[in-house]
């Protein structure tokens, strides 16, 4: 296992621990433990199937992506003030699950569902931008002290960064295996590390706010 992957799994573990410890820190954060444990379980399954059993493992992403999207959607439902935005999120979740499962059924749960992951990314980028511009100002707190800022910022960077990899990953993993591995290491793993660093910061924000009060 590469150093990047090890760091990523370590950060994911830290997030799980923080999320469990701080699940009552604020609206939205209570859903994050489920997201982190789903990610952690997925990575473990991938490690077992890929490294130990040497069997196909990409099918797990066909199941993980709808779960991840649903959990992110619950997060945005909890932090969004606008009733209209909440309605859109609710409709998007239903539509996304139907589209995602239809696609997976069509491809027999084979290959990486890059298109579906990009569809998720587009929704999350949209909601993150909307959320960043409508954060409720109820206290004299700079934006960088708010967990929602770091979570939205992380989502924006991660999903915009992996956009192109998702499109070409299936093609590269068959035709140019070396490049696919490099991109996986260089972009996906590193962006994952960045995303979970941002999540760690998000969970530390309420602690810092309490101390500063």
């Amino acid at each position: 296992m590469s150093i990047g992957k090890t760091i990523y799994l370590f950060l994911l573990g830290v997030c799980c621990a923080l999320a469990l410890n701080r699940r009552n820190s604020g609206p939205g954060l209570r859903v994050m433990p489920y997201l982190f444990f789903a990610s952690f379980a997925t990575e473990i399954i991938v490690l077992i199937f890929f490294n130990l059993l040497h069997k196909p493992y990409l099918w797990i992403y066909h199941l993980y992506i709808p779960i991840e999207f649903s959990l992110y959607s619950i997060y945005f439902l909890l932090v969004t003030q606008s009733a209209f935005q909440r309605r859109i999120i609710q409709l998007a979740v239903v539509a996304f699950i139907l589209v995602s499962l239809s696609y997976s059924w069509k491809v027999n749960f084979e290959g990486f569902p890059g298109l579906i992951y990009n569809l998720e990314g587009l929704f999350l980028i949209w909601w993150s931008i909307t959320q960043l511009f409508t954060i409720n100002i109820s206290m004299d707190v700079p934006i960088i002290r708010l967990p929602v800022f770091w979570i939205c910022f992380g989502i924006l960077l991660f999903h915009s960064g992996i956009f192109f990899v998702n499109f070409v990953y299936n093609h590269l993993s068959v035709n140019r295996v070396g490049l696919a591995k490099q991109l996986n290491q260089l972009i996906i793993t590193n962006l994952n590390c960045l995303l979970y660093i941002f999540f760690v910061v998000a969970f530390l924000c309420p602690i810092r706010m309490k101390k500063s009060i």
Binding site: I144, L156, F163
Partner: protein, 269 residues
């Protein structure tokens, strides 16, 4: 589906551009949040100031009503009792002699003085009544009362043509002068107090100066306000309430000068 190297390169550049663009969006979101936060903080500060101003106004109105009630009660009840006592004493037979007559004479003098003091106090408490004749006259009466104590010499100077202010402004200015005189008498050990009113076009400058012991302003009136300088803070808060600016200058051993500047929006003679 297959991709050429150029297409992959183009996709990578597009992704990098997208990331940079979204980072810019985040920067803009931070900027907008800071703007909204500043507006929010300004609104809170304005609400707080309005609340404090309203609270102070209510306190002053309550205080004024209480003083008026006390003044009226003193005049109507205690004043009547003292007047009756005087009548009764005057109806005593004239045939008293020696120490008894002397004691009776002294009692009548004391009673006359008590009645005069009571009237003065009653008028002083009922400032609205006193202010009917104008601010300089009301301050003049107040200074007369101080002069009668014989402790300090007082002078009143009026420059310019008297212009009437809003009744509420005059009332608060009068109360500030009373508070300042009270401070000079109680704490300053002053020998001389000079009050001056300077009317100019659209403004009134009111100055109360004493030659007392003075004080270190920084110690008595800390920047954050607080209990220590509550009397001086009261003066400044009351002045702010009527749109006046209060400046207090003092130093140990060099007396105190309190200056109030108030704009007169609709001057009337």
């Amino acid at each position: 589906m297959s991709y050429s190297d150029e297409e992959i390169y183009l996709a990578a550049v597009s992704t990098a551009t997208l990331m940079v663009f979204l980072a810019g969006v985040v920067g803009f979101a931070i900027f907008k949040y800071q703007q909204r936060l500043q507006i929010h903080l300004r609104e809170i500060a304005e609400m707080k100031a309005a609340y404090e101003s309203e609270l102070l106004r209510s306190q002053l109105e309550m205080q004024e009503q209480t003083l008026q009630t006390v003044g009226r009660e003193l005049h109507d009840n205690l004043g009547q009792v003292l007047s009756l006592m005087k009548i009764n004493l005057n109806t005593l037979p004239d045939g008293l002699e020696g120490k008894t007559a002397e004691k009776l004479g002294r009692t009548k003098d004391l009673l006359n003085r008590a009645i005069a003091d009571l009237r003065g106090l009653s008028k002083s408490l009922n400032a609205e009544n006193r202010l009917k004749a104008g601010l300089p006259t009301a301050i003049g009466h107040e200074l007369d009362a101080v002069r009668k104590t014989g402790v300090v010499d007082v002078t009143l100077g009026v420059r310019g043509t008297e212009q009437r202010l809003d009744p509420r402004q005059e009332l608060i200015l009068f109360r500030i002068v009373q508070e300042t005189l009270n401070n000079a008498l109680k704490h300053a050990q002053a020998k001389n107090i000079a009050v001056s009113l300077e009317y100019s076009v659209g403004a009134l400058n009111l100055t109360v100066a004493d030659d007392g012991v003075g004080f270190d302003l920084a110690q008595v009136l800390p920047p954050t306000g607080g209990e220590q300088g509550s009397g001086l803070s009261n003066i400044q808060n009351r002045a702010r309430l009527i749109g006046a600016e209060a400046r207090i200058r003092s130093a140990a051993g060099q007396g105190t000068v309190t200056t109030l500047s108030i704009p007169i929006s609709h001057p009337t003679a």
